[in-house]
Amino acid sequence: MYRIGYLIQKEFRQILREKAFIGLIFGMPFIQIVILGFAVSTDVRHVSIAFLDRDHSRFSRKIADAFSVTESFTGRGALTSERQAKELIDSGVIQAAVVIPPGFERDLLSGREPALQMLIDGVDGNSAGIALAYASQIVARLQQEAAAEARGGPPSPGAAAPVTLAPRMWYNPELESRYNIVPGIIGILVTMITAFLTGMAIVREKEIGTLEQLMVTPIKKHELILGKVIPFAVVGFMLMNVGIAAAGLLFGLWMEGSLFSLYLMSLLFMLSTLGLGIFASTMARTQQQAMFVTWFFSIFALLLSGFFIPIENMPKIIQAVTVINPLRYFMVAIREIYLKGTPVLYLWKEALFMLLFGLTVIIAASLRFRKRIA
């Protein structure tokens, strides 16, 4: 049992001696959180929009003004023809155009339902969808105003008042996507560091021949594996703490829930990533191969985790695949703990899945890891 201690001690000596490692542990979380926190945003802002006004009425001008005053859109002036609208969208000068048909105001005030055309550059489908939703909100608000005006003043008692929805967003009232992204980045950092470093550290010993030497010592297989895995789990926790500090200091985003809950969930999650590292090391002969194997699995885990694309938006069959993705559960857990302060008790399902999956991976990988050459 003492031998694990010696292995861990040796591993830390090596980690601390490598300056690049220190940079990795402390620099990487800061840089990633700064850059991704600011850059990766699913909020749609400053969509360039232009107007083709064929009505030239008070109301059509009101529409143009309403679009221009929100943060979501930036008015780029008036258009003269649909052809021009198409050209400007093609050339990327504007991302959307609103076409107001002749007789718009008249139709609106007389209670008919005039059609408003919106042309959107759909290359980025997500942003286009969100921009369209914003546009609909703006138009709906104007429509209500118009309806009120048509009736002449405030609605009289007895008349059917239109129902308005007043949504209140909890946990993230401003709907800042950053608040969703930053905890996600912490989850990704933990995945990357623990899986990559574990795999590479084992394979490095294969490359330099020390693993073969270690095999011909009294050390047991499980001691060898634990001696490799524990140091990188510790590194993973250190990195996570740096990430937590960075999120707080840079974005003022401090955890709502308890640190203990997050640690517990992270520990369960790391079973899978450390297991992946061991697994990669059993398949690879060189560090590059180990990186490739780890990359192969982590890119799937990442894309199917709900970090970029909500799982509910995926096709049913892909949703079924995400069930065996431990990162999916960790994403839920870390966001819940971070933003809502959900106690561990309510995250038992995620915890159970991560535990089962982690144990399976780590046991399977350890069985593949042999103290013999062939």
């Binding site: 040796k10 000596r13 090596q14 330099i208 021949g209 020390t210 073969e212 009294p218 050459i373």
Partner: protein, 303 residues
């Protein structure tokens, strides 16, 4: 008293390739045994089986009288093993490397201290003890690797091509260390591709394509060379070799940097060879009867 190493009719194949074919070797206490052969001859497979890293297809390896495949734990805690191209932890210092291996064998720190002093005296690495292993010269690295495997004072050590790529001076120092160990009663099993290292072993085995071709003391093997041998001393051995290949059977010719050797398998004598050279109009400085070397023997055996 059980023999330190006893390998009996060991065979091992990888897929369709027979890597080791019925190899039998014994090593006595305090003996240096050299397994000599070119790359791919099966040296590493024999060694890995002996140190419990491979399981043989048939035959067995015994370590201190116990079957290796049945007692891998016993082997691993008592043998000293230095794998091929082994290069330590480059980012740990000399001292840290030694302590690490001492710790793995759970040697108390005070005993490690004493052992390290002995090993420093032996390897003369004392002045470099705080230097990182990666910053040592090739020869010093090999000495450190040897010291690491000696921390637990094994009675039997197994080294796979330990002097590969090491400069001649360090190589001779390294062999000096092995000789000193053997004088103290340690059994040494070492593989090498360098024929000139054979003389430094008590007994050797020549291995080729997984088979032991000959086994014995270096002198005994050489004395057993079966045919008269002549050496043609000439300017351009390459040229002479090419011309002679058309007159003499090519399996009687051995090309070396210092000249062309002729194995006189037909026992035709020196005169006959001189006649052949004259007819072929080959200019040379002289032809003389030569003593066989291990290389001559090896080339003759793999014929």
């Amino acid at each position: 008293m059980d023999r330190p190493i006893e390998i009996k009719a060991l065979s091992k194949s990888y897929g369709d390739t027979l890597a080791v074919d019925r190899v039998s070797i014994t090593v006595d206490k305090g003996e240096i045994y050299g397994l000599i052969g070119p790359d791919g001859a099966g040296k590493t497979t024999v060694i890995r089986t002996l140190v419990s890293l491979l399981v043989p297809d048939s035959g067995e390896a015994l370590f201190m009288g116990r079957t290796v495949s049945a007692y891998p734990g016993f082997v691993r805690s008592h043998i000293g093993y230095m794998p091929q191209r082994f290069s330590l932890y480059r980012d740990l210092s000399v001292e840290e490397n030694l302590h690490f291996f001492g710790d793995l064998f759970q040697i108390p720190r005070d005993r490690q201290r004493r052992r390290m002093d002995e090993l420093y005296a032996f390897s003369r690495l004392q002045p470099f003890r705080t230097r990182l292993a990666g910053a040592l010269s090739g020869g010093m690295k090999q000495k450190l690797a040897l010291s690491c495997m000696l921390m637990h004072q094994p009675e039997v050590i197994v080294l796979d091509e330990p002097t590969f790529g090491v400069d001649p001076v360090s190589r001779s120092e390294f062999w000096g260390m092995l000789a000193a160990l053997s004088r103290d009663g340690t059994s040494v099993f070492v593989s090498t591709a360098y024929m000139d290292e054979a003389d430094l072993c008590h007994r050797i085995g020549l291995i080729h394509h997984g088979r032991i071709l000959a086994q014995g003391t270096p002198d005994g093997l050489i004395a057993g060379f079966p045919w008269p041998l002549y050496r043609i001393d000439c300017e351009n051995p390459h040229h002479v070799y090419t011309i002679l290949s058309s007159t003499l059977p090519p399996d009687q010719l051995q090309l070396f940097g210092s000249g062309v050797y002729v194995v006189d398998r037909g026992k035709n004598g020196l005169r006959s060879l001189q006649r052949t050279l004259r007819t072929a109009k080959i200019a040379c400085r002289g032809i003389s009867s030569a003593d066989a070397t291990l290389e001559n023997l090896f080339l003759e055996l793999i014929r």
